[in-house]
Symmetry: C2
Subunit: 196 residues, 2 copies
């Protein structure tokens, strides 16, 4: 359940040694390139960095999005797992929600272009969108419902819409010093508070 990050294809066993090595090389190269050039760096650049042909990338990761998912899987998982933990350790559900949102926003803002990719026209990054949703939506729902149950926030907001809103607010947060996504998300969360 925590295999070191292949997104598709058979698990570690049943792969040739060189294939496994290349997969890891690719993940490392992709991570580096994503940091230096952003998540939307050309596939060819990643292949070059890893010293392999583009074909090799596509054999391991059927699509760009799958590569991105594989690179960030651990962090997404960490974010998902932080939800229940925060709920247990925070004074109120609303506090837990706030902290969890901070975690998520920090994650998105830190990776250049990730937020943008996350809602890119379904054509290319659809799988990415889907993965984030699968993993994080249940957690977010739980947090929202807990905060709603405790009467701290209004209960009429879809977790899906909420998450998309947060993701959207993070778009372009890097590469624009005048735009502080964290602040706007905080405002959004503030707007969620029950009138009384």
């Amino acid at each position: 359940m925590n295999d070191s990050g292949q997104s598709a294809g058979s698990s570690a066993r049943s792969q040739r040694k060189d294939a496994r090595r290349n997969q890891q090389t690719l993940l490392d190269a992709a991570a580096e390139v994503f940091v230096s050039s952003g998540v939307d760096a050309p596939v060819r650049d990643i292949a070059a960095k890893a010293g392999v042909g583009v074909g090799t990338i596509y054999r391991h990761f059927p699509t760009r999005a799958d590569l991105v998912i594989a690179v960030y899987r651990h962090q997404v998982d960490a974010c998902a797992e932080a939800g229940p933990a925060l709920l247990a350790s925070s004074p109120t559900p609303h506090a837990a929600l706030g902290r969890w949102v901070d975690l998520f926003v920090d994650f998105l803002v830190t990776k250049h272009g990730l937020a943008t990719a996350l809602q890119g026209d379904s054509t290319c990054f659809g799988p990415l969108h889907t993965y984030f949703l699968d993993r994080l939506l249940p957690v977010c729902t739980e947090l929202l419902e807990a905060a709603a149950a405790s009467g701290e926030i209004r209960s009429d907001l879809d977790a899906y819409a909420f998450m998309r809103g947060i993701g959207n607010l993070c778009v372009g947060a890097d590469s624009d010093p005048r735009y502080d996504a964290r602040r706007l998300v905080a405002l959004l969360v503030a707007g969620l508070r029950q009138p009384q």
Copy 2:
């Protein structure tokens, strides 16, 4: 000041008749295609619809973004002009702000893909971003300042960040029935209210 929508190049005078005719044809075709296929429709489709070559598009509109600007210029202007009017006719500055934001959001959500284009990686749609900002930022600033002066909202939010936030929230609002941008923007504006 209200010339029917050429974005660049000399004004109506000093153009050849066929050039002027083609420009109008292009604006009409683009408007149609934007409605049916979204703002990110291929340039070639627009050229085909207008019955001209792509070269003709680029002679009239140096870049895709300029064409988009030309098509929506009137509506952006209308939105800009509505600001002061609303401020004058609304019971409070905050009410005016709310109505103006509604106007802006409706505009963005209505045009498929406009919001996405608006914050697309500066490479391609930079001019579009710039035009919207030039035109609307002053208006938005005025509204925010008025509402802040009347003590209805906090005064520490940059109008630029606010506008970008709204624009971002509108990304993908079409093409996803589960995502209601208007609602999230309303939440954001609610979060702007002064604690007391």
